[in-house]
């Protein structure tokens, strides 16, 4: 079975975009071959870790790697920020999961990425570009210093609209401003694909609704197995209940009940916060022993209702 002699989940490259956002490139040749835009993986950092879903930010078939961009917001992702070094291994990475995004025959699309969604929108933008589509990229960051992958996006977008909350780079404002600008300029947009925090995707869906532009969003609810078995990731799509892991993760943004999604994302907020605090306290104790190590600032977990932006 040499062909399926599977990965050890070795981390072959890492890049830090900011204090909280980091990129991991994991060797898994078979998965790199199978992955399509829009799919995700489930990762376990260590044997006792939790299973966390992460959207595939890139895949490189020649290098045989999967790229993940992680935002250190909870215990697991912050722990990974410390432990995931080049040459180290993850305990598990399974995927690619979910139905690949349809790279439709659209002539003109807008690919929107905000915050955590900037990385996963990339394979879609590239996929559309490769299919000959006119691609307008809209990226949202909090501020200029958090901007990453601008070059990568420029290479696969016919137009790129960069938005920052404070106006320090590109357009001042949210990605919805970028969408409005794109719609104003192009009357013939076939499709909008948006990935980011739920509240951002909700804003995007509202921005396109009056124009009746097909809008796909990628949902990332809480999951355990990622194979349709637990139902933890159920979402309301119009009058139906769907499981994001096997029926998605892409859904029609005009049908998604975002308020329901955001409420469900808060399920473990308290437990997660407590776990992060415990972990952080533990690290500080270690820091005392090692005065060279900088103290770890405890980040507040983002509330899904907040407009989380930029790495």
């Amino acid at each position: 079975m040499e062909a399926a002699r599977l990965s050890q989940f070795e981390i072959v490259a890492r890049e830090d975009f900011s204090d909280v956002t980091y990129l991991l490139e994991v060797r898994h040749p078979l998965m790199a071959k199978a992955a399509r835009p829009g799919q995700f993986v489930i990762v376990m950092a260590h044997e006792r870790g939790e299973r966390i879903p992460l959207t595939i930010a890139d895949f490189d078939r020649s290098r045989g790697t999967i790229t993940l961009v992680v935002q250190a917001v909870g215990k697991t992702t912050r722990e990974m920020q410390q432990s995931c070094k080049v040459g180290s291994t993850l305990h598990a990475m399974v995927g690619p999961m979910g139905i690949p995004s349809p790279i439709s025959g659209a002539k003109k699309v807008v690919c929107v990425g905000g915050g955590l969604g900037v990385a996963p929108i990339f394979p879609q933008a590239r996929g559309f570009k490769e299919a000959g589509t006119y691609v307008i990229g809209v990226l949202g960051f909090r501020t200029k210093s958090l901007v990453f992958w601008e070059d990568k996006f420029r290479a696969c977008c016919n137009e790129l609209i960069l938005c920052t909350d404070d106006g320090s780079a590109g357009l001042k404002g949210l990605v919805t401003e970028g969408i409005k600008r794109a719609i104003a300029k192009h009357r013939d947009i076939d499709e909008v694909v948006a990935i980011g925090p739920p509240v951002m995707m909700k804003g995007c869906a509202e921005a396109t609704r009056p124009h009746k532009i097909k809008t796909l969003v990628s949902l990332n609810p809480i999951m355990v197995d990622g194979t349709g078995m637990c139902g933890g990731c159920r979402v309301k799509i119009g009058s139906e209940v769907k499981f994001a892991c096997v029926d998605g993760p892409d859904f029609d943004g005009h049908l998604v009940d975002f308020d329901d999604l955001m409420t469900r994302l808060r399920r473990y907020t308290q437990v997660e916060r407590a776990a992060a605090e415990r972990w952080s306290a533990n690290c500080r104790m270690k820091d005392l022993a090692d005065p060279a190590a900088p103290a770890v600032e405890l980040l507040e977990l983002p509330d899904p209702f907040d407009d989380v932006k930029g790495g």
Binding site: M1, A3, A4, L6, F9, L30, M31, A34, Q39, M44, R48, G49, E50, R51, K75, T76, H91, A92, M93, V94, G95, P96, M97, G98, I99, V224, D225, G226, T227, G228, M229, C230, G231, G232, R234, K236, V241, F243, V246, D247, D260, T263, R264, R266, R267, Y268, V271, E272, A275
Partner: protein, 495 residues
């Protein structure tokens, strides 16, 4: 040689199995039933008449030579008893615990016609536990035949099929999507019924006969069934991915936080070890938990909630106790531990606490009408009987639907409910690809899945043109194996 036993000479009472005291066990995850010691096993073995008809063997989905192994226990030769069981079943410790013997071997036991039937399940467990404790493994002489078999899913169906194909000389690889093998035996059945250590020991036995396990592999998405056959060089494939996809009730409040499927609750607790502070996965802890449904999974979920510290756990079921699908023993255990049963009660809405959580349930009383398709009397709502029920967590254990992944990613023919369509030999619409267990039949039991795994293995051997090694050697070890196998010829279907 002992003199001939009769129904009058054998011990009349079934040997009871010691159990943890209900109050104590409701607070821990240790096994409820402690198992027989040697004396108890000998006494119970004495109750078997070793009757010539052996109805129990045909009552067993995998056809274990039941009188054969009981005879060996009676001779105080547990090792030999293990050898007999291992001929047909490598998972004695698992099956002894979770098979519904009362509707299988024990139901048709000759002794059972006038007395309580022989406690076959308990005796099997006794042998299985001894084997694990003593480290017995029967590694048969296996002659490699060069065929490669891929098995999708490492639950009971996949494990049983893997065992048979490995013993037949095939190079077997089992693919599992989770990070640990075992399927429902690991994520579903809680430790107090089946300790994960027992499952691991059985998996280790499979490894020793050459079975390879590849975890973290989502077949269908990482590679497809078609690719397994066309590109990855598997001569035959077995799909045993289980049903999985849990049903939701479809009432208002379904999506509230505090409502979850039994699958999610059990997976967090059993596989992810959420109950242990050293593990990172969180688990919702309800104080007053209502579990909807009354099958074995519902019983497991209720008893897990109790052990996680719930003050009150309710079972809410729309039919009456008589129709309840769980094993009588499980209902009895749950009752002993203090689960409160609300028969003939159906939820009509889950009530919101205003913060996205659950404050209670609105239920309606039911009464039984004429029999429905399942042969059970149909529950009908009693008009105007709604009442509210306080609860802060609701667990759905109302069944599962077909997992869609294989259907989404292959051209395999499915039935109208989305399960994989197979013929009698469990062959699917694709040559060389077999399927069995819940993904074919819908939710069933562990042993039925194992039976299906073995049936598929027979079909697979026929397809590959393999003669059964045990059969070629002859002898009494052939019990339970399809006689048609004698006619196998070395005729491999054109690849």
């Amino acid at each position: 040689m002992a003199k001939k036993k009769t129904i009058r000479t054998i011990p009349q009472e079934r040997t009871p199995m010691r159990e943890q005291e209900p109050r104590a066990r409701a607070k821990n995850f240790e096994e409820v039933a402690c198992g027989y010691d040697v004396g108890e096993a000998l006494r119970e073995a004495e109750r078997c008449l070793l009757c010539p008809d052996q109805p129990c063997v045909s009552g067993c989905p995998v056809g274990i030579d039941i009188p054969g192994f009981i005879r060996k226990i009676g001779e105080n030769n547990t090792r030999a008893a293990y050898d007999v069981i291992a001929e047909t079943n490598l998972l004695a410790a698992v099956c002894g615990r979770v098979c519904p013997q009362e509707t299988q071997c024990e139901e048709v036991c000759t002794v059972g016609e006038s007395l309580e039937p022989v406690a076959i399940g308990r005796l099997e467990r006794f042998v299985g536990d001894a084997a694990i404790r003593e480290g017995w493994v029967n590694v048969p002489h296996i002659e490699a035949n060069g065929f490669r078999v891929g098995i999708v899913g490492s639950g009971p169906a996949g494990m049983a099929c893997a065992a048979d194909m490995a013993k037949a000389g095939c190079e077997v690889t089992v693919f599992e999507a989770f990070h640990q093998p075992g399927g429902v035996l690991k994520y579903g059945i809680p430790d107090f019924r089946l300790p994960n250590g027992v499952v691991d020991a059985e998996i280790e036995n499979l490894r020793r006969i050459g079975v390879r396990f590849e975890c973290n592999t989502l077949v269908g998405r990482l590679f497809t069934i078609e690719q397994m056959v066309d590109e990855l060089g598997f001569h035959a494939v077995f799909i045993g991915t289980g049903a999985g996809y849990p049903s939701m009730l479809g009432v208002p409040g379904d999506s509230l936080n505090g409502v979850l499927s039994a699958n999610e609750l059990l997976t967090r607790c059993n596989l992810m070890r959420a109950r242990d502070a050293a593990f990172d996965t969180p688990i919702p802890l309800g104080k007053r938990v209502a579990v909807i449904g009354a099958g074995n999974t519902a019983m497991d979920a209720m008893r897990v909630c109790l052990r996680l510290g719930a003050e009150k756990v309710y079972c809410v079921y729309r039919r009456s106790r008589a129709e309840c699908p769980a094993r009588a023993e499980e209902v009895h255990h749950a009752e002993q531990e203090g689960i409160e049963f609300h028969w003939l009660t159906a939820p009509v809405a889950i009530l919101d606490d205003g913060k996205g959580g659950v404050r209670g349930m609105r239920c309606i009383r039911m009464e039984l009408g004429a029999p429905d398709d399942s042969g059970r009397r149909r529950p009908m709502p009693v008009a105007g009987s709604e009442f509210d029920f306080e609860a802060d967590q609701v667990v759905y254990a109302i069944g599962t639907n077909a997992n869609p992944i294989i259907g989404q990613t292959s051209r395999l023919k499915l039935d109208k409910r989305g399960y994989i369509a197979t013929d009698e030999s469990l062959a699917t619409s694709m040559p060389g690809v077999f399927a069995g267990g819940d993904i074919v039949t819908g939710a069933a039991t562990v042993i039925e899945a194992m039976g299906a795994g073995r049936r598929a293995a027979r079909g697979m051997k026929a397809y590959l043109g393999l003669r059964d090694a045990a059969r070629a050697a002859g002898g009494e070890t052939l019990f339970g194996i399809d006689l048609g196998e004698r006619n196998f010829v070395r005729l491999r279907a054109a690849a």
